[in-house]
Amino acid sequence: MTDRRRFLKNMAGLTVMGSAGILLPRTGFGAVPGDNPDLASGTREASVLDALPGKKPLIKRTFRAPCYETPVNYFNEVFTPNDAFFVRYHLSNIPPVTAQDWRLRIGGESIDKTFELTFADLTNPKNFEHVEIAAVCQCSGNRRGLNIPHVAGVEWAYGAMGNAMWKGVRLRDVLAKAGIKKDALEVVLNGTDRGVLDKTPDFVKSLPMYRALDENTIIAFEMNGQPLPFWNGYPARLVVPGWTATYWTKHISDISVVSKPFDGFWMKTAYRIPQGKFPIVARFISQETEVNTPITEMVVNSLITNIHDGQHFRPGQPVEVKGLAWDAGYGIQMVEVSIDGGRSWRDAELSKDYGRFSWRQWGFRFKPEKKGSYGIMAKATNRSGNTQTFELIRNPAGYHHNVVQKVDIVVA
Protein backbone atom coordinates (compact mmCIF):
# COMPACT_ATOMS: atom_id res chain seq x y z
CA MET A 1 0.00 0.00 0.00
CA THR A 2 1.35 3.44 -0.81
CA ASP A 3 1.69 5.98 1.93
CA ARG A 4 -1.11 8.00 0.38
CA ARG A 5 -3.53 5.07 0.38
CA ARG A 6 -2.57 4.08 3.90
CA PHE A 7 -3.16 7.67 4.96
CA LEU A 8 -6.67 7.65 3.51
CA LYS A 9 -7.45 4.32 5.12
CA ASN A 10 -6.30 5.63 8.48
CA MET A 11 -8.25 8.82 7.97
CA ALA A 12 -11.41 6.79 7.32
CA GLY A 13 -10.97 5.01 10.63
CA LEU A 14 -10.35 8.30 12.33
CA THR A 15 -13.51 9.86 10.95
CA VAL A 16 -15.63 7.07 12.35
CA MET A 17 -14.04 7.44 15.72
CA GLY A 18 -14.22 11.25 15.56
CA SER A 19 -17.89 11.31 14.69
CA ALA A 20 -18.64 8.71 17.32
CA GLY A 21 -17.24 11.17 19.83
CA ILE A 22 -19.63 13.86 18.68
CA LEU A 23 -22.78 11.96 17.91
CA LEU A 24 -22.89 9.18 20.43
CA PRO A 25 -22.94 9.27 24.19
CA ARG A 26 -19.54 8.51 25.60
CA THR A 27 -20.77 5.25 26.98
CA GLY A 28 -20.46 2.75 24.19
CA PHE A 29 -16.90 2.89 22.91
CA GLY A 30 -13.42 2.80 24.29
CA ALA A 31 -12.25 6.30 23.57
CA VAL A 32 -8.53 6.01 24.30
CA PRO A 33 -6.53 4.04 21.71
CA GLY A 34 -4.52 1.35 23.46
CA ASP A 35 -6.11 1.91 26.87
CA ASN A 36 -5.44 -0.96 29.25
CA PRO A 37 -7.74 -3.95 28.57
CA ASP A 38 -7.68 -4.98 32.25
CA LEU A 39 -9.57 -1.84 33.27
CA ALA A 40 -13.30 -2.17 33.92
CA SER A 41 -15.47 -1.66 30.85
CA GLY A 42 -17.03 1.44 32.42
CA THR A 43 -13.58 2.91 32.98
CA ARG A 44 -12.54 2.37 29.38
CA GLU A 45 -15.79 3.72 28.00
CA ALA A 46 -15.72 6.92 30.05
CA SER A 47 -12.04 7.69 29.47
CA VAL A 48 -10.95 10.07 26.70
CA LEU A 49 -7.82 11.89 25.66
CA ASP A 50 -8.25 15.45 26.82
CA ALA A 51 -5.96 18.42 27.40
CA LEU A 52 -6.20 20.61 30.47
CA PRO A 53 -5.04 24.20 29.84
CA GLY A 54 -1.27 24.16 29.36
CA LYS A 55 -1.15 20.38 29.18
CA LYS A 56 -0.84 17.83 26.38
CA PRO A 57 -3.78 15.46 25.87
CA LEU A 58 -3.65 12.96 28.71
CA ILE A 59 -5.95 10.08 29.62
CA LYS A 60 -8.90 11.71 31.35
CA ARG A 61 -10.32 9.40 33.99
CA THR A 62 -12.51 12.09 35.60
CA PHE A 63 -13.03 15.70 34.55
CA ARG A 64 -13.86 17.14 37.99
CA ALA A 65 -12.00 16.78 40.28
CA PRO A 66 -9.45 16.53 37.46
CA CYS A 67 -7.76 13.12 37.31
CA TYR A 68 -5.63 12.70 34.19
CA GLU A 69 -3.02 10.03 33.67
CA THR A 70 0.11 10.05 31.54
CA PRO A 71 0.09 7.74 28.49
CA VAL A 72 2.82 5.09 28.82
CA ASN A 73 4.73 6.28 25.73
CA TYR A 74 5.95 9.31 27.71
CA PHE A 75 7.72 6.95 30.10
CA ASN A 76 10.41 6.23 27.52
CA GLU A 77 12.01 9.46 28.73
CA VAL A 78 13.79 9.55 32.08
CA PHE A 79 12.17 12.84 33.04
CA THR A 80 8.46 13.12 32.39
CA PRO A 81 7.68 16.33 30.48
CA ASN A 82 5.84 18.89 32.62
CA ASP A 83 3.02 19.18 30.11
CA ALA A 84 2.50 15.41 30.13
CA PHE A 85 2.82 14.92 33.90
CA PHE A 86 -0.23 13.28 35.51
CA VAL A 87 -2.82 15.34 37.38
CA ARG A 88 -4.73 14.23 40.45
CA TYR A 89 -7.04 16.32 42.62
CA HIS A 90 -9.46 15.13 45.29
CA LEU A 91 -11.65 18.22 45.51
CA SER A 92 -13.07 20.42 42.78
CA ASN A 93 -12.72 23.91 44.19
CA ILE A 94 -9.33 24.84 42.76
CA PRO A 95 -8.85 28.61 42.87
CA PRO A 96 -6.43 30.32 40.49
CA VAL A 97 -3.29 31.45 42.25
CA THR A 98 -0.44 33.73 41.22
CA ALA A 99 3.09 33.80 42.60
CA GLN A 100 2.43 37.46 43.39
CA ASP A 101 -0.59 36.80 45.63
CA TRP A 102 0.52 33.45 47.04
CA ARG A 103 1.52 33.24 50.72
CA LEU A 104 2.90 30.39 52.78
CA ARG A 105 1.85 30.50 56.44
CA ILE A 106 3.92 28.66 59.04
CA GLY A 107 2.12 28.04 62.31
CA GLY A 108 0.89 25.46 64.83
CA GLU A 109 1.19 25.10 68.57
CA SER A 110 4.58 23.42 68.39
CA ILE A 111 6.52 26.26 66.83
CA ASP A 112 7.93 29.33 68.53
CA LYS A 113 7.11 31.97 65.95
CA THR A 114 4.26 32.08 63.40
CA PHE A 115 5.23 33.75 60.16
CA GLU A 116 4.35 34.16 56.50
CA LEU A 117 6.46 33.94 53.36
CA THR A 118 5.89 35.51 49.97
CA PHE A 119 7.03 33.67 46.86
CA ALA A 120 9.99 36.06 46.67
CA ASP A 121 10.88 35.26 50.30
CA LEU A 122 10.67 31.53 49.72
CA THR A 123 12.75 31.53 46.56
CA ASN A 124 15.42 34.00 47.67
CA PRO A 125 18.59 31.89 48.08
CA LYS A 126 19.74 34.30 50.78
CA ASN A 127 16.86 33.05 52.94
CA PHE A 128 16.99 29.34 52.14
CA GLU A 129 19.51 27.26 50.25
CA HIS A 130 18.26 25.94 46.89
CA VAL A 131 18.43 22.20 46.38
CA GLU A 132 17.62 19.94 43.44
CA ILE A 133 16.51 16.35 43.54
CA ALA A 134 15.27 13.85 40.96
CA ALA A 135 12.29 12.00 42.37
CA VAL A 136 9.37 9.84 41.31
CA CYS A 137 5.95 11.24 42.15
CA GLN A 138 3.50 8.34 42.18
CA CYS A 139 -0.11 8.30 43.29
CA SER A 140 -0.79 5.76 46.05
CA GLY A 141 -3.53 4.33 43.85
CA ASN A 142 -1.53 4.09 40.63
CA ARG A 143 -2.70 0.88 38.86
CA ARG A 144 -5.80 0.66 41.06
CA GLY A 145 -7.86 0.02 37.93
CA LEU A 146 -5.84 -3.14 37.31
CA ASN A 147 -7.02 -4.72 40.57
CA ILE A 148 -9.08 -7.81 39.81
CA PRO A 149 -11.66 -7.81 41.30
CA HIS A 150 -11.93 -4.05 40.84
CA VAL A 151 -12.11 -1.72 43.82
CA ALA A 152 -13.77 1.72 44.03
CA GLY A 153 -11.71 4.86 43.43
CA VAL A 154 -10.00 6.59 40.53
CA GLU A 155 -9.42 3.74 38.11
CA TRP A 156 -5.83 4.36 37.06
CA ALA A 157 -3.81 2.14 34.76
CA TYR A 158 -0.01 2.63 34.71
CA GLY A 159 0.25 6.40 34.33
CA ALA A 160 -0.53 8.07 37.67
CA MET A 161 3.16 8.76 38.11
CA GLY A 162 6.06 10.74 36.75
CA ASN A 163 9.70 11.50 37.38
CA ALA A 164 11.03 15.05 37.54
CA MET A 165 13.99 17.13 38.65
CA TRP A 166 12.53 19.20 41.49
CA LYS A 167 14.11 22.41 42.71
CA GLY A 168 13.20 24.12 45.92
CA VAL A 169 14.15 24.69 49.53
CA ARG A 170 14.29 22.21 52.39
CA LEU A 171 11.19 22.11 54.56
CA ARG A 172 13.46 21.77 57.59
CA ASP A 173 15.22 25.05 56.77
CA VAL A 174 11.87 26.84 56.66
CA LEU A 175 10.72 25.21 59.92
CA ALA A 176 14.02 26.04 61.60
CA LYS A 177 13.25 29.70 61.05
CA ALA A 178 10.01 29.19 62.97
CA GLY A 179 11.68 27.33 65.82
CA ILE A 180 10.37 23.86 66.60
CA LYS A 181 9.27 23.05 70.15
CA LYS A 182 10.19 19.79 71.89
CA ASP A 183 6.63 18.45 71.84
CA ALA A 184 6.39 18.58 68.01
CA LEU A 185 4.79 15.36 66.69
CA GLU A 186 3.54 15.96 63.14
CA VAL A 187 3.73 18.60 60.41
CA VAL A 188 0.30 19.37 58.92
CA LEU A 189 0.11 20.41 55.27
CA ASN A 190 -2.64 22.23 53.39
CA GLY A 191 -2.95 23.69 49.89
CA THR A 192 -5.36 26.20 48.37
CA ASP A 193 -7.62 23.59 46.73
CA ARG A 194 -10.70 22.59 48.72
CA GLY A 195 -14.19 21.16 48.54
CA VAL A 196 -17.19 22.75 46.84
CA LEU A 197 -19.25 22.42 50.01
CA ASP A 198 -18.09 23.87 53.32
CA LYS A 199 -18.84 20.54 54.99
CA THR A 200 -16.43 18.60 52.77
CA PRO A 201 -13.21 17.80 54.65
CA ASP A 202 -10.40 19.87 53.20
CA PHE A 203 -7.55 17.85 51.70
CA VAL A 204 -5.12 18.18 54.59
CA LYS A 205 -2.25 15.77 55.21
CA SER A 206 0.39 15.33 57.88
CA LEU A 207 3.91 13.91 58.07
CA PRO A 208 5.83 12.51 61.02
CA MET A 209 8.58 14.88 62.21
CA TYR A 210 11.42 12.62 61.04
CA ARG A 211 10.14 12.67 57.48
CA ALA A 212 9.29 16.39 57.48
CA LEU A 213 12.81 17.18 58.71
CA ASP A 214 14.54 14.80 56.29
CA GLU A 215 17.04 16.69 54.11
CA ASN A 216 15.28 15.39 50.98
CA THR A 217 11.83 16.80 51.82
CA ILE A 218 11.55 20.09 49.96
CA ILE A 219 9.11 22.83 49.09
CA ALA A 220 9.55 22.83 45.31
CA PHE A 221 8.95 25.78 43.01
CA GLU A 222 10.56 24.37 39.87
CA MET A 223 10.08 21.15 37.99
CA ASN A 224 12.46 20.13 35.19
CA GLY A 225 13.87 23.68 35.11
CA GLN A 226 10.50 25.40 34.73
CA PRO A 227 7.92 26.83 37.13
CA LEU A 228 5.48 24.12 38.25
CA PRO A 229 2.54 23.71 35.86
CA PHE A 230 -0.63 24.97 37.55
CA TRP A 231 -2.07 21.44 37.63
CA ASN A 232 1.01 20.12 39.41
CA GLY A 233 0.87 22.58 42.27
CA TYR A 234 1.94 26.05 41.10
CA PRO A 235 3.54 28.06 42.54
CA ALA A 236 4.94 25.67 45.16
CA ARG A 237 4.31 22.12 46.32
CA LEU A 238 5.78 19.74 48.80
CA VAL A 239 8.08 17.02 47.45
CA VAL A 240 8.53 13.99 49.71
CA PRO A 241 10.90 11.71 47.78
CA GLY A 242 10.19 8.02 48.26
CA TRP A 243 6.73 8.57 49.75
CA THR A 244 3.54 8.34 47.73
CA ALA A 245 2.16 11.51 46.15
CA THR A 246 -0.63 11.93 48.70
CA TYR A 247 1.90 13.81 50.86
CA TRP A 248 3.15 16.03 48.02
CA THR A 249 0.72 18.87 48.84
CA LYS A 250 0.02 21.05 45.79
CA HIS A 251 -0.42 24.86 45.91
CA ILE A 252 0.89 24.56 49.46
CA SER A 253 -0.34 27.43 51.63
CA ASP A 254 -0.26 26.32 55.28
CA ILE A 255 2.27 24.34 57.24
CA SER A 256 1.61 23.71 60.94
CA VAL A 257 3.72 21.89 63.47
CA VAL A 258 1.47 20.17 66.01
CA SER A 259 1.82 18.11 69.18
CA LYS A 260 -1.12 15.74 68.64
CA PRO A 261 -1.92 13.30 65.83
CA PHE A 262 -3.79 15.18 63.10
CA ASP A 263 -7.24 13.58 62.85
CA GLY A 264 -8.68 14.91 59.57
CA PHE A 265 -10.51 12.53 57.25
CA TRP A 266 -7.65 12.30 54.74
CA MET A 267 -5.29 11.02 57.43
CA LYS A 268 -7.50 9.18 59.88
CA THR A 269 -9.72 7.34 57.40
CA ALA A 270 -8.39 7.68 53.86
CA TYR A 271 -5.03 6.55 52.49
CA ARG A 272 -4.75 3.64 54.90
CA ILE A 273 -3.23 0.21 54.30
CA PRO A 274 -3.72 -2.91 56.42
CA GLN A 275 -1.00 -3.60 58.99
CA GLY A 276 1.58 -6.20 58.05
CA LYS A 277 0.66 -6.82 54.42
CA PHE A 278 3.43 -4.90 52.68
CA PRO A 279 7.22 -4.87 53.17
CA ILE A 280 7.29 -1.28 54.41
CA VAL A 281 10.16 0.16 56.47
CA ALA A 282 9.05 3.78 56.96
CA ARG A 283 6.41 4.01 59.66
CA PHE A 284 4.07 6.75 60.78
CA ILE A 285 3.67 5.62 64.36
CA SER A 286 1.53 8.48 65.71
CA GLN A 287 -1.12 7.64 63.09
CA GLU A 288 -1.08 3.85 63.38
CA THR A 289 -3.93 1.73 64.73
CA GLU A 290 -4.06 -1.98 65.53
CA VAL A 291 -5.45 -2.79 62.10
CA ASN A 292 -4.12 -0.20 59.72
CA THR A 293 -1.55 2.50 59.08
CA PRO A 294 -1.24 5.46 56.74
CA ILE A 295 0.40 4.59 53.45
CA THR A 296 3.97 5.88 53.54
CA GLU A 297 6.76 4.92 51.15
CA MET A 298 6.41 3.37 47.70
CA VAL A 299 6.98 -0.33 47.12
CA VAL A 300 9.55 -1.54 44.58
CA ASN A 301 8.14 -1.55 41.09
CA SER A 302 8.93 -1.59 37.37
CA LEU A 303 7.24 -0.88 34.07
CA ILE A 304 7.85 -2.05 30.51
CA THR A 305 7.49 1.07 28.38
CA ASN A 306 8.28 0.39 24.74
CA ILE A 307 6.48 -2.79 23.67
CA HIS A 308 2.83 -3.71 23.87
CA ASP A 309 0.68 -6.82 23.97
CA GLY A 310 0.28 -8.42 20.57
CA GLN A 311 3.17 -6.54 18.98
CA HIS A 312 4.65 -8.44 16.01
CA PHE A 313 8.33 -9.13 15.29
CA ARG A 314 10.04 -11.20 12.57
CA PRO A 315 12.19 -14.22 13.40
CA GLY A 316 15.78 -13.04 13.81
CA GLN A 317 14.73 -9.44 14.32
CA PRO A 318 16.36 -7.97 17.46
CA VAL A 319 13.87 -7.03 20.16
CA GLU A 320 14.86 -4.34 22.61
CA VAL A 321 12.75 -4.24 25.76
CA LYS A 322 12.97 -0.96 27.67
CA GLY A 323 11.50 0.14 30.94
CA LEU A 324 11.76 1.79 34.32
CA ALA A 325 12.35 0.60 37.87
CA TRP A 326 11.96 2.50 41.14
CA ASP A 327 11.40 2.13 44.86
CA ALA A 328 11.25 4.33 47.95
CA GLY A 329 14.87 5.42 47.70
CA TYR A 330 16.77 2.35 48.89
CA GLY A 331 18.00 2.06 45.31
CA ILE A 332 17.41 -0.42 42.51
CA GLN A 333 19.73 -3.42 42.81
CA MET A 334 18.70 -5.25 39.66
CA VAL A 335 16.02 -5.72 37.05
CA GLU A 336 15.46 -9.21 35.69
CA VAL A 337 13.69 -9.91 32.43
CA SER A 338 11.99 -13.09 31.31
CA ILE A 339 11.11 -13.82 27.68
CA ASP A 340 9.40 -17.15 28.43
CA GLY A 341 6.58 -16.09 30.70
CA GLY A 342 8.59 -16.28 33.92
CA ARG A 343 10.31 -19.68 33.56
CA SER A 344 13.79 -18.19 33.30
CA TRP A 345 15.21 -14.76 34.12
CA ARG A 346 18.22 -12.76 32.98
CA ASP A 347 19.60 -9.43 34.16
CA ALA A 348 18.65 -6.31 32.28
CA GLU A 349 21.20 -3.54 31.81
CA LEU A 350 20.63 -0.59 34.13
CA SER A 351 21.10 2.90 32.66
CA LYS A 352 22.39 6.07 34.29
CA ASP A 353 21.64 6.56 37.98
CA TYR A 354 20.04 9.97 38.58
CA GLY A 355 19.90 9.45 42.34
CA ARG A 356 18.14 6.97 44.59
CA PHE A 357 14.73 8.67 44.42
CA SER A 358 14.66 8.85 40.62
CA TRP A 359 13.49 5.93 38.61
CA ARG A 360 16.13 3.98 36.72
CA GLN A 361 15.87 3.19 33.04
CA TRP A 362 16.84 -0.32 31.93
CA GLY A 363 17.08 -2.28 28.69
CA PHE A 364 17.23 -5.89 27.53
CA ARG A 365 17.99 -7.13 24.00
CA PHE A 366 17.36 -10.54 22.51
CA LYS A 367 16.93 -12.05 19.08
CA PRO A 368 14.03 -14.53 18.87
CA GLU A 369 14.71 -17.09 16.15
CA LYS A 370 11.73 -19.36 16.74
CA LYS A 371 8.23 -18.39 15.71
CA GLY A 372 5.63 -18.19 18.43
CA SER A 373 4.47 -16.17 21.40
CA TYR A 374 6.95 -14.75 23.90
CA GLY A 375 5.79 -13.66 27.36
CA ILE A 376 7.97 -10.71 28.30
CA MET A 377 8.17 -9.91 32.01
CA ALA A 378 10.28 -7.57 34.14
CA LYS A 379 10.93 -7.71 37.86
CA ALA A 380 12.87 -5.16 39.91
CA THR A 381 14.66 -5.82 43.20
CA ASN A 382 15.93 -3.08 45.49
CA ARG A 383 19.00 -2.89 47.69
CA SER A 384 16.96 -4.00 50.71
CA GLY A 385 16.19 -7.23 48.84
CA ASN A 386 12.53 -6.43 48.31
CA THR A 387 11.02 -7.29 44.98
CA GLN A 388 7.70 -7.20 43.14
CA THR A 389 4.85 -9.62 43.70
CA PHE A 390 3.37 -12.07 41.21
CA GLU A 391 0.03 -12.06 42.98
CA LEU A 392 -1.86 -8.95 43.91
CA ILE A 393 -1.74 -8.02 47.58
CA ARG A 394 -5.37 -7.11 48.03
CA ASN A 395 -6.32 -4.15 50.22
CA PRO A 396 -9.55 -2.14 50.40
CA ALA A 397 -8.39 0.94 48.51
CA GLY A 398 -6.21 -0.82 45.95
CA TYR A 399 -2.88 0.77 46.91
CA HIS A 400 0.68 -0.42 46.24
CA HIS A 401 -0.03 -2.42 43.07
CA ASN A 402 3.36 -3.80 42.03
CA VAL A 403 2.37 -7.02 40.34
CA VAL A 404 4.91 -8.16 37.74
CA GLN A 405 3.68 -7.22 34.27
CA LYS A 406 3.48 -9.65 31.35
CA VAL A 407 3.53 -8.43 27.75
CA ASP A 408 2.94 -11.07 25.09
CA ILE A 409 4.65 -10.43 21.77
CA VAL A 410 4.32 -12.51 18.61
CA VAL A 411 7.21 -13.63 16.44
CA ALA A 412 5.90 -14.66 13.03
Partner: protein
Protein backbone atom coordinates in the same frame (compact mmCIF):
# COMPACT_ATOMS: atom_id res chain seq x y z
CA UNK B 1 2.13 8.19 9.00
CA UNK B 2 1.39 6.42 12.24
CA UNK B 3 2.64 9.38 14.23
CA UNK B 4 0.38 11.70 12.24
CA UNK B 5 -2.58 9.51 13.09
CA UNK B 6 -1.67 9.54 16.76
CA UNK B 7 -1.32 13.31 16.68
CA UNK B 8 -4.75 13.64 15.10
CA UNK B 9 -6.32 11.23 17.57
CA UNK B 10 -4.84 13.21 20.42
CA UNK B 11 -6.13 16.42 18.88
CA UNK B 12 -9.61 14.95 18.44
CA UNK B 13 -9.74 14.00 22.11
CA UNK B 14 -8.71 17.50 23.09
CA UNK B 15 -11.37 19.12 20.96
CA UNK B 16 -14.33 16.94 21.81
CA UNK B 17 -13.92 16.14 25.49
CA UNK B 18 -16.13 18.04 27.87
CA UNK B 19 -17.89 17.22 31.11
CA UNK B 20 -21.22 18.39 29.72
CA UNK B 21 -21.18 15.54 27.19
CA UNK B 22 -21.32 12.86 29.86
CA UNK B 23 -24.59 10.98 29.48
CA UNK B 24 -25.77 8.71 32.21
CA UNK B 25 -28.04 5.78 31.42
CA UNK B 26 -31.78 6.46 31.49
CA UNK B 27 -33.72 5.13 34.45
CA UNK B 28 -35.66 6.08 37.57
CA UNK B 29 -33.50 8.27 39.80
CA UNK B 30 -31.28 9.68 37.05
CA UNK B 31 -32.46 13.25 37.75
CA UNK B 32 -31.54 12.99 41.42
CA UNK B 33 -28.15 11.54 40.61
CA UNK B 34 -27.40 14.27 38.07
CA UNK B 35 -28.57 17.04 40.37
CA UNK B 36 -26.87 15.93 43.57
CA UNK B 37 -23.72 14.07 42.55
CA UNK B 38 -22.63 16.77 40.11
CA UNK B 39 -22.58 19.44 42.83
CA UNK B 40 -19.08 18.29 43.74
CA UNK B 41 -17.81 16.05 40.95
CA UNK B 42 -18.31 15.11 37.32
CA UNK B 43 -20.57 12.15 36.64
CA UNK B 44 -17.80 10.11 35.03
CA UNK B 45 -16.83 9.23 38.63
CA UNK B 46 -19.85 6.92 38.45
CA UNK B 47 -19.08 5.55 35.00
CA UNK B 48 -15.46 4.67 35.67
CA UNK B 49 -16.51 2.75 38.80
CA UNK B 50 -18.69 0.40 36.82
CA UNK B 51 -19.83 -2.24 36.50
CA UNK B 52 -18.23 -3.87 39.53
CA UNK B 53 -19.84 -2.44 42.67
CA UNK B 54 -22.79 -4.28 44.22
CA UNK B 55 -25.64 -2.67 46.15
CA UNK B 56 -23.73 -2.77 49.44
CA UNK B 57 -20.73 -1.07 47.83
CA UNK B 58 -22.85 1.65 46.19
CA UNK B 59 -24.62 2.15 49.54
CA UNK B 60 -21.23 2.66 51.19
CA UNK B 61 -20.16 5.15 48.50
CA UNK B 62 -23.35 7.20 48.74
CA UNK B 63 -23.19 7.04 52.53
CA UNK B 64 -19.64 8.42 52.44
CA UNK B 65 -20.75 11.27 50.19
CA UNK B 66 -23.52 12.21 52.63
CA UNK B 67 -21.88 11.63 56.00
CA UNK B 68 -18.27 12.54 55.21
CA UNK B 69 -18.44 14.88 52.24
CA UNK B 70 -21.66 16.64 53.24
CA UNK B 71 -23.79 15.93 50.17
CA UNK B 72 -27.29 17.41 50.76
CA UNK B 73 -29.25 14.19 50.22
CA UNK B 74 -32.12 13.11 52.49
CA UNK B 75 -32.94 9.49 53.34
CA UNK B 76 -35.65 9.17 50.69
CA UNK B 77 -33.46 10.48 47.91
CA UNK B 78 -30.56 8.39 49.17
CA UNK B 79 -32.59 5.24 48.49
CA UNK B 80 -33.50 6.47 45.01
CA UNK B 81 -29.85 7.22 44.20
CA UNK B 82 -28.58 3.88 45.50
CA UNK B 83 -31.22 2.00 43.52
CA UNK B 84 -30.37 3.90 40.33
CA UNK B 85 -26.62 3.28 40.71
CA UNK B 86 -27.13 -0.39 41.51
CA UNK B 87 -29.53 -0.97 38.62
CA UNK B 88 -27.54 0.95 36.01
CA UNK B 89 -23.92 0.88 37.17
CA UNK B 90 -23.87 -2.12 39.49
CA UNK B 91 -22.27 -5.49 39.04
CA UNK B 92 -24.32 -7.73 36.79
Amino acid sequence: MRSLLIVMLLASGAVFADESQIQLKSGPGKDSVQAKCSICHSLDEIQINSPFLDKAAWTAEVGKMIHVMGAPIDDKEKTVIIDYLTANYGVK
